[in-house]
Amino acid sequence: MTEQGPLFDLKQLDELAAGSPDFVNVMIDTFLTHTPEQVEHLVSAFQQGELKRMGEIAHKLKPSIDLFGISGLTATVRSIEQKGKAEHRDDKLSAEVLELDRVMTLVFEELHKMRPQ
C-alpha cells in the first residue's frame, strides 16, 4: 500500500481470466520475468541521456502498468513517454523516473509474495 491507494489492482486481469484459474498466475509470472528488465533499461536510458530510448521503453511499459492496475504510475509513465518522444528533459523528469522505479520495485516485491511457493 502507498499513501495514494493500493499499489496495483488485478481486477482487469481477473475479468480477462474469464474463469480460467491459472491465467492470473501465468500473467504475474510473465510480468515478473520481463518487466523488471524493462524498468532497469528505462532508468539506465534516462541516466545515459538517451531520452528517445527511454520514451520508447515507457511506451512499451504502459500497457503492462495499465493491465496490472498500477494506477499510481498511469500518469507518470505517459509523462515519461511524451518527454522521451520529444527528447525534452525538464526538472520533473528525474523525479518521475525515480518514482516509476520505486513503485515498480514495490509492485515486484508484492507480486513475488503472491506467487505460489
Partner: protein, 452 residues
Amino acid sequence: MALLRVYIIEDNEVYAKALNHHLSLNPDNEVEVFHTGKAFLQALHSRPDMVTLDYSLPDTTGEEVLKKIKEFDKDIPVVIVSGQEDIRTAVNLLREGAYDYIVKDENTRERLWNTVNHIRENVRLKDEIDRLREEVNIKYDFSSIKGNSEVLKKIFRLIEKAVMTNITVSIYGETGTGKEQVAKAIHYNSSYRKRPFVAVNMAAIPKDLIESELFGYEKGAFTGANQRRIGKFEEANNSTIFLDEIGELDLHLQAKLLRVLQEKEITRLGSNTPVKVNSRVIVATHRNLAEEVKKGAFREDLYFRLRGLPIELPPLRERGNDIIILAKFFADEFCRDNQLPKVQIARPAQQKMLKYRWPGNVRELKAVIELGVVLSDSGIIEEEHLNFHSQDGIKELIFEETSLRNYTQQIIKYYLDKYDNNVIKVAEILDVGKSTIYRMIKNKEIVINTRQ
C-alpha cells in the same frame, strides 16, 4: 467454417499473453503470437485469416509490416493495436489498408473482440462467395458445352488457346448458339476466374444509356445522376468484360470504345480524370462484322482491334448428332430439376429433330425438349411431342426476298462451308456441274471461307 487463424504481433510479452488469452476464449479462434516483425514475416506464407499488429516493434515499424502483408495478400485484415494515440498515425495506417485501429486502453478487449467477430463474419462470407464461384466454375467448365462433333472439337481447341492469354476474343454465331456460354467458359477457366464476369448486352440497353452503363458517371453529370456510379469497364477491372451484340453499337460509341481499348483507360461521364482499366475483352455478335465494315456500319479500326481470336460458333443444324446429345442432356436436366423420372427420346423423334433447321439453335432445342418432357407419356418423347417454331420448311428456307441467283450462291456457299470447300462433293449433293461452282468462285460470286 474452419478456425479463424489470428496472428498477434506484439513485443510486450505481458500484453501479448493477455491478448492471446482473450482471443483464445473463443474456441473458433486459433491464435499465434510473434514478438518481432521478422519472426512474423517468416510465417506470413502460412496466410493467417487476420493479424493484430503493434505499431512499435523492436526490429521494424508497424507501417512496414502492414505494407509487407498487403503486398503478400491485400485481403488479409490487419488490426493495429497500439499504444500510439496519435491520430495522424492512425489515419495513415487506415489509408495504407489497415482494417481497424485500436488504442491500448481499458476498452481494447471489447473493441478487439467485436472487430474479430466482424472479420470472422467477413471471412465466412468470402468463403461462401469462393464456394459459389467454384460452383459456377464447375457449371461453366468446358463440359457444359455439350457435343462431340468435329466442328465443336475445333471450338474447344480455340477456347483452350483463348484461356492461356488475355487476348481479345470475338465470338460469332447465330442467335442461340451459345456465345455467352463460350465467353463464360473462357472467363471461368482463365486467370481472372475469381473475379466477376461482367456481361453487357448492347442490344438490350437503350442507346442513350450505353455510354453511362459502360463508362460510369459522376454525381451531377446529367439530370438524375444523384450519385457517382462506376461503369461496367471499371467493374470488370482485372477481369473479363463481355460485350454481347457488339454489332449493335452506334458509330459514335464505337469511336469511344476504340479509344478505351487503345488507351486502357476510361473517363466517367461528367469527369475529366481518366481511370486506368485492365479488362480482358470478349465480344460477340450474330452479325458478320466484316460485312458491317463494308457497309460502313462498323468502324474498320475497331473491327481489327476487336477481332483478336475469332471463334465462329456453328448453327445447331450443322452439328449433326450433337443435336441428340444436347436433347438428351436437356431432357435429363429438366427431369432432375423437376424431380421427374428420366425420359427417353424415341428414334422417330430423334430423326425429326435431325431434319429440322433450328433457327433458334440451342436455345430453341432446350425449349422444345422441355415441352416434349411435359407432353410425353410413359417416359418417352415421341415425334408428336416435339413442337417446332415453324413446321413450314420452305418458309424457313426463304427468309428474305432476294433473287434466285442470290439464293443459288447462298446455297452453294452453305454447302462449301459445311464440306470444307470440297467442290466435287457439293456438286454431287446439289446435282450441278462442278465447273458451275468453279466459275462462280472465279467470278467472285462466291467467296470461299479459307479459315481453318
